[in-house]
C-alpha cells in the first residue's frame, strides 16, 4: 500500500483501485482544533484539485481538495460527532473519504513521504 501526498496537504492511501483521502499531520497541526468537517455525498464525483470537503477550526474554514479524481464510495461518519479525530489521528482514524480511482496516472504527480516532508520543511 502506497501513501502519497499533495502540495495542498492531503494524503492518499491506495489499496487496489480504492484511494483513502485525508489531511496531513502537518495540516492538522497548522489548523489547530478541528470543530467541523463537511464531507461530500457518497456517489459524488470529485476531480483532482477540485473541492472535496471542508474542514473548520475554531478560527477558520478551509477547503480540502481532492488529490485524485474519482467517485466517492465512502465517507468517515465518525467525523460528524467527533471532528477532533482529525487532530488526534490525521493520517489514520481521521480519514475523510474513500474514492474509486478514475486515473491511476494521477498518483505519479503526487509526492512520497520523503518528498512531502522536504516540501513542508520548505
Amino acid at each position: 500500500m502506497t501513501v502519497k501526498y499533495s502540495k495542498d496537504h492531503e494524503w492518499v492511501k491506495v489499496d487496489g483501485d480504492t484511494a483513502t483521502i485525508g489531511i496531513t499531520e502537518h495540516a492538522q497541526e497548522q489548523l489547530g482544533d478541528v470543530v467541523f468537517v463537511e464531507l461530500p455525498a457518497v456517489g459524488k464525483k470529485v476531480k483532482k484539485g477540485g473541492d472535496a470537503a471542508v474542514v473548520e477550526s475554531v478560527k477558520a474554514a478551509s477547503e480540502v481538495y481532492a488529490p485524485v479524481s474519482g467517485e466517492v464510495i465512502a465517507v468517515n461518519k465518525e467525523l460528524e460527532g467527533d471532528p477532533g479525530l482529525v487532530n488526534r489521528g490525521a493520517e489514520g482514524d481521521g480519514w475523510f473519504m474513500k474514492v474509486k480511482l478514475a486515473d491511476r496516472n494521477e498518483l505519479v504527480e503526487l509526492m512520497d513521504k520523503a518528498a512531502y516532508d522536504k516540501f513542508v520543511a520548505g
Binding site: L31, G32, V58, K59, A60, E80, P83
Partner: protein
Amino acid sequence: MSGLANPCPETQMSDAAPRRTPLYAAHVALGARLVPFAGYDMPVQYPAGILTEHNWTRASAGLFDVSHMGQCLVDGPDFETVARAMERLVPADVLGLAPHQQRYSQLLAEDGGILDDLMITRSGQEGSLYVVVNAARKEHDFAWITRHLPRGIALRRADGLALLALQGPKAEDVLANFAPEVRGLKFMHYGALRLAGIEAQVSRSGYTGEDGFEISVAENDVVGLWNLLLADPAVKPVGLGARDSLRLEAGLCLYGHDIDETTSPVEAGLVWSIGKRRRSEGGFIGETRVLRELKSGVSRKRVGLKPEGRAPAREGTAIIDLAGRPIGKVTSGGFGPTVNGPVAMGYVAAGSSVPGTKVNLIVRDKPLATTVVSLPFVANTFKR
C-alpha cells in the same frame, strides 16, 4: 487544502515590522504561535490550543497579554473639568463616575458612527481619567481625543505600561494570594494594589464574560508578574484565539467587525452604555444620529444568531429571511466551545431582530437554518 498559510484571517498584515510587547520572549518560550495582529506579533494560541484555553478560562483562570492595547491618561485641573471634556467625545455618563469607577463607552464620529470602543476609569488621582482603547485604533484615537480636548486638558500616552488580563472563576483567589483586598473590588471598579511588591492598577473587568481583572503595570514589571501568576496551578496562558471565542460567547463587540464607523451605538445594542442624563442633554459628538435613533428607532440591529447543527457561519455570511430576502450580514461567527456549537452575531433588519425569529445564513451557497437569539450565548458571571 486552502488557508494554511494564514490560519487567522482577522490578522492584519502591514509592511512595517511587527512590534512586540514586553512579553514576546515569554510567549516564544511557552511555545506560542505568534501572528501579526494590530501591528504586533501576538500569541494566537499556546500549545494547549484554543479549545483547551477557552475551557480553562471558563473553569479556572486564563492569563492574557493585552499589552498591545492603548493606555493613556486624560489630565486636567479637577475631575469635573476633565469629565465634562471627555463627555464631549463619548455618550457615557463620565461625570457620574464615582472615584475608582469604570465605564464602557464609544468614541463617536460627527455622523454618529463608532470610531472605537473604550474603557474610561476615574482614577484615584484627582483630575485624571485612565482610558484604554483598542490596539489597532490607538494612534487614531489618541490624535482624535487630543484634537477635541479644550485648552488645559491633555492626553498623556502611557506607552510605558503593559496590560494583563486574568479571567475566570479562580481569578479572584489567585490575585487574593498577593492582595486580599481584590475580594472587595466590585465589577467595573479599580484599585491601586501591590502584587508581590509590584505596583499595579487593577480593575475588575474583562472581555470574556467571566469574573476577572485587568492589571496595568510598568513594562519593566510585567514579565515578573506574568511569571508569578503563571506559577499558580490555577492559571494558564491564553491567546487571542480563545479571547475571540470567549468574547463572542459573551456577546461582546469586536471593533472593526461588530462595530465600526458605519454602525451607531443604538444599532449595535449598546444603549445601556449611554448615560440617562446624556440621552436628554446630548452634548456629545455624533449626538444628532444617536438621539434621533433613540427616539425613532433604527432600521437594523445587532443580534445573536444560533445556527442549527454543527457548521460555523463566519464573518461576512449573508443573512436572509424565510422569504429569501437579504436582511443582513454576520459580523462575527465561529464555534463556541462552551456552547459546544456554532455561534454568531450580526446585523439584521429591525423587523427580523426579535429573539426567536427564524432566518437562514448562506454558508457555501446553502441555507443554514438559524434562530435570532438574545445575547449573550453564555451568561456572564460578573461580581457586581
